[in-house]
Each structure stands twice: as structure tokens, then as C-alpha cells.
């Protein structure tokens, strides 16, 4: 009985229903066309008995053609509905998974902050220990704030088109702030290098400070997440003449499949290797980075030689003339 029920459940799978619908449609077409042609022939034979008459065939073929076109439209509609339904189901599953990740990302710093504050409350600690735990609490608070900002900004960029006033910003300063945050966390566990900064002084771009800070935080955070302990994270800066500047974040981590290079910027998308490695994170980082770059009229491209061969993210902005 249970096995019979299980088999019945398989028949209710959307893919199975779609296939059955396709087969039914094809059979219906065949049956209808055959019926139509045979009825037409019978009708013609009947009319012949009553004497000569203009042929009805031309009109009947038009009717047949119209019927086939309408059935074809029905088939296309069925297919479109099915594809959209599957996409929606996948999106819902991804969103559930990402919501779970975001919850984890929010709860973890809160747990650390609570732990340190309760430790301060419970024990008599040396001033060095007190200082260290307060420092940790502040770092976790900063991490929590950063995540909340990312989630809110992601929602804001999708739902509204706000136009804050851009200002001239020192690019080096923005990059160094993000770089410092990242290296404080992982410099003892990753090979972190800056390239090209000595040659590029005083590069100015036009933008929103908070958004650009999130952009660079996200790109570096992404590199940390997908790179093993001992791996490399490099931040490079390349001027392209007097009008453009390119910033590149490179790692030697899990890499990206060729067919996923554009998809990594989709909201909630996770590279294939990420799920196998249980990489935590909201799945919003790169989509947010992409949206920020676009809002600043720049370009963001992902490159990777392949899985397990690292990846690089290339951001290009227009430079502002410092003398103007």
C-alpha cells in the first residue's frame, strides 16, 4: 500500500505532469487532425453526389492551419508557464537557504557579543583581558552592522531608485579601509598583498562613500570566504590612462566554473563549490557589489581559470581629474 502511494506521489511531480501534458497534447493534435481530414473527405464525397460544386479544400486547409497555430500557441504557453514555475520554485528554495544563512550570519556576532559581555559580568578579569573582550565585542558589533547595512542596501537597490548626492572620494583611502578590516581578521591565515598602490597616489572617483565601502568590503570578504587558510588574497590597482582606474581582487581559492562567471552576480547565487564546502554567508555580497558598481556607472567582471584555480574580480571606474 505504501509503495503504491509512493508511486502515485511520483506521478504528481511537476516534471512528470509536464511530460504527460506534452504527450497528451501531441496525441490530441494527431487525433484532431486525422478526424478533421477524414470528416472533410466524407463531406466532400457527400457533396459530389449532389453535383459539381466549388472545392472546399482551400478554406478547410486554412481552418486546419488556424487550429494548428492556436494549438501551437497553447503549447508555447504551457512551456512558458512550466519554466516560470520551475524558476520560482528554485528561487523559493534558494531564498529559504539564504534566509537561513543570513539568520546564521546575524546570530553569530550577537552570540559572540553576548558571550563576551556575560564573561565580563561573571568574572573578575585583568584589565588586559577586559580590554581584549571589549575589543572583540566591538569588532563583532561592527560585523553585525556591516551585514545589516548590506541587507538593507540590497533591498533598497532593488526596490527604489534613490539618488544620493555623489562626492569626490579618495579611492586609496576607501580601499585601505576595507583592506585593513579584512587583514585584521585574516592576515595570519592568508597571504595578503597590495600591488600597485605605491605608483598610484591621489586617485579620485565620484561616488557614494558608504556604498563604495560596502562594495570593497564585499569583494574582499568574498575572497576570504572562498580561500583556504594559507591561501592568497591580492588587491591590485591599475590606472588605464588618465580617465580610468581598475581595481582587482584576486584569490587562489575555489574558483568559478566558466558557465557561472556571469551568474555569480545574481542575487542569492552561490558558486557550486560553496555548497560543498558549507561556505557561510548571505549570498547577497556579489549581487550587491554589482548593483553598486552599476549605480556608479562602472563595470564589474569576474574571471577564473576554473574550479580550484582561484578567481579575480575586476572593477573599473572613471577617474576624476584631481586638478579640476
Amino acid at each position: 500500500m505504501l509503495n503504491a502511494l509512493k508511486r502515485f506521489r511520483i506521478l504528481l511531480h511537476p516534471m512528470v505532469i509536464f511530460i504527460i501534458a506534452q504527450i497528451s497534447w501531441a496525441l490530441l493534435m494527431v487525433v484532431w487532425i486525422r478526424w478533421y481530414i477524414s470528416r472533410t473527405n466524407e463531406f466532400e464525397a457527400l457533396l459530389e453526389r449532389f453535383g459539381p460544386h466549388p472545392s472546399l479544400r482551400a478554406g478547410q486547409w486554412i481552418v486546419l492551419l488556424e487550429g494548428c497555430i492556436l494549438m501551437g500557441i497553447l503549447l508555447i504557453a504551457l512551456y512558458v508557464v512550466f519554466v516560470n514555475l520551475r524558476r520560482q520554485v528554485r528561487l523559493n528554495q534558494m531564498q529559504d537557504s539564504i534566509l537561513s544563512s543570513i539568520t546564521h550570519e546575524l546570530k553569530t556576532p550577537i552570540a559572540s557579543i553576548r558571550l563576551y559581555l556575560e564573561t565580563l559580568e561573571m568574572y573578575e578579569l585583568s584589565s588586559e583581558e577586559r580590554g581584549r573582550f571589549l575589543q572583540r565585542s566591538l569588532q563583532e558589533l561592527s560585523r553585525l552592522q556591516s551585514l545589516v547595512d548590506r541587507v538593507l542596501l540590497s533591498a533598497q537597490l532593488r526596490t527604489t531608485f534613490k539618488k544620493p548626492i555623489p562626492e569626490r572620494l579618495d579611492l586609496n583611502s576607501l580601499l585601505m579601509t576595507s583592506w585593513q578590516k579584512m587583514t585584521e581578521r585574516v592576515s595570519d591565515k592568508r597571504d595578503c598583498q597590495l600591488i600597485g598602490f605605491d605608483e598610484c597616489e591621489s586617485i579620485q572617483i565620484l561616488g557614494i562613500r558608504a556604498d563604495l565601502q560596502i562594495l570593497f568590503d564585499n569583494l574582499l570578504d568574498n575572497a576570504v570566504k572562498y580561500t583556504k587558510t594559507g591561501g592568497k588574497i591580492w588587491l591590485k590597482i591599475f590606472p588605464h590612462g588618465p580617465t580610468k582606474i581598475e581595481i582587482v581582487v584576486t584569490d587562489d581559492g575555489i574558483g568559478i566554473e566558466k558557465n557561472q562567471l556571469k551568474r555569480v552576480f545574481q542575487r542569492f547565487f552561490r558558486a557550486e563549490g560553496a555548497s560543498k564546502r558549507h561556505v557561510t554567508g548571505s549570498g547577497l555580497g556579489l549581487s550587491l557589489a554589482y548593483a553598486i558598481v552599476k549605480a556608479h556607472k562602472g563595470s564589474l567582471v569576474a574571471k577564473s581559470p576554473g574550479p580550484e584555480k582561484g578567481a579575480s574580480f575586476h572593477v573599473t571606474f572613471k577617474r576624476e581629474d584631481p586638478s579640476s
Binding site: 537561513s100 539568520t103 546564521h104 546570530k107 553569530t108 550577537i110 552570540a111 559572540s112 557579543i113 553576548r114 558571550l115 563576551y116 556575560e118 564573561t119 561573571m122 568574572y123 583581558e129 573582550f133 572583540r136 569588532q139 563583532e140 581578521r185 564546502r277 558549507h278 561556505v279 557561510t280
Partner: protein, 254 residues
Amino acid sequence: MLPLKEKILLVEDEEHLAEGLIFNLTREGFDIEHVANGEEAALLLTSRAQDFHAVVLDLMLPGLDGFQILQQARLVSRSIPILVLSARSTEADKVRALELGADDYVTKPFSLKELILRVRSILKRSQWIRTSEANSDKDGGLTFGDGQFHRGSMTYFRADGESIRISPTEASLLLIFHKKPNIILSRQQLLKDVWQYEPGTATRTVDVFVGKLRRIIEKSEAEPKHLISVRGAGYAYVTDQDVRDNLQSNRSKK
């Protein structure tokens, strides 16, 4: 000579959280060994489980996740107490972890005092096991359901001859029921007696573990004869036929 400290394996990938936990648990007198990824944890548990008195295990880890580690650990050792400490707070996650062999589940963020209490609680159970195994000569079998429970070897021998090794928490629950037969024990009472939870804690932990015990002792889990649930009241371990008939007729009336 100072007594040896109880050794806890802490599996946590969040650096700051791990630092805080190590500090506090060390202050509480434990010896902590820390790993930050799933593969290392699995390797330690499968090769050196006997070195640890307990495990505090996160679920979302790089490499193998906590659920996989639980499965692998329980293949090697049924007796090592494992407390799951995770930000995943859905009932499905808790039930899954308990079904896979966790003895307790604490969600993040957590109260430090409560965590320490829960760690001590699972260690107490572990200590009881080690003492039982040391006294195993003196301990005969205990009749429970249709079979026998041997405390020394932590093994339940079913009437059909099958022997099943049970965990310290399952054993603690079995003994509480054995001590108080034919009485309805509320979930809150069981939580307090076995897990030392505060009254008012809402949890399905008891249901999960009673379910596990039923699978061990009953012929049919769907129609239990010994561990009866009483809706709205709790569970009863029934040895008296009249009590059984009474409880079962009340269930069918409802």
C-alpha cells in the same frame, strides 16, 4: 596529585566565539581542545573519541557539517556526550541533530550560565557511565519492557535477541522511567530530571528521545505497549496491565 581535568572537544569555526568559549570553559575547570573545521573534527572523533569526555559541536562548519560529524561520531562511539551549539534554531534542525545522536542542543545566542550548566549536565551523565562500566561486574540486568538493560555495557537486549548499545541520555531516560513505573511523567518533569532544564522550557527534546527509546524497546513504535504517551500530560512506562488498559481505553475514547 591534582585530579585530571575533563577534556572537551570544541568544534567551532567562528574565531571570536571560539576564543570566548575556550576562555570560559577553561575558567570553569575544563581542558579544551579546539578545531575549526568539520574534517578535522571527524578525524579526531573517529580516532581519539576515548580522549574526550564531551563534545561541543557547531553545525555550520567548513568542510563536513555538524550533522555529518554526528553521524560519523556515533558510528564509533555511542557513549561520548555531544552538545550541539548552533545558530540554527528551527525545530527540524533540533530534531535532526537529536535523532542523529546529539545529547543536547543549545541555540545561539545563548546564556553563558545555561551553556555551562548543560555542559556539566552531559558530563555528569558521562561520569555515571564511566562509573557504571567500572562496576559492571556488580550490575546485573534491569528488566525494561520485554527486554533487559545492562547498565555496565550500556546495552539493551531485546526479547528477540537483538542487542542495542544506547547513549548516556537514552539510558538516563530509561532509568527515570524504570524508577517510576505506571506513573504519568510530564515533559517538564523529564526535562528537569534528565536534562536539568528549567521548568517552562519549551522543547521537543523529550519527544525525540522517547521516540528513540521506543524504537529500541518496543516491537512496534506506532503501537507502543510499554512507553505510552498521554496527551496533554506526558509519558508513562507501564508494567501493569490494568494501567495499560486504562490508558489505552482513554486514548481510544479521545
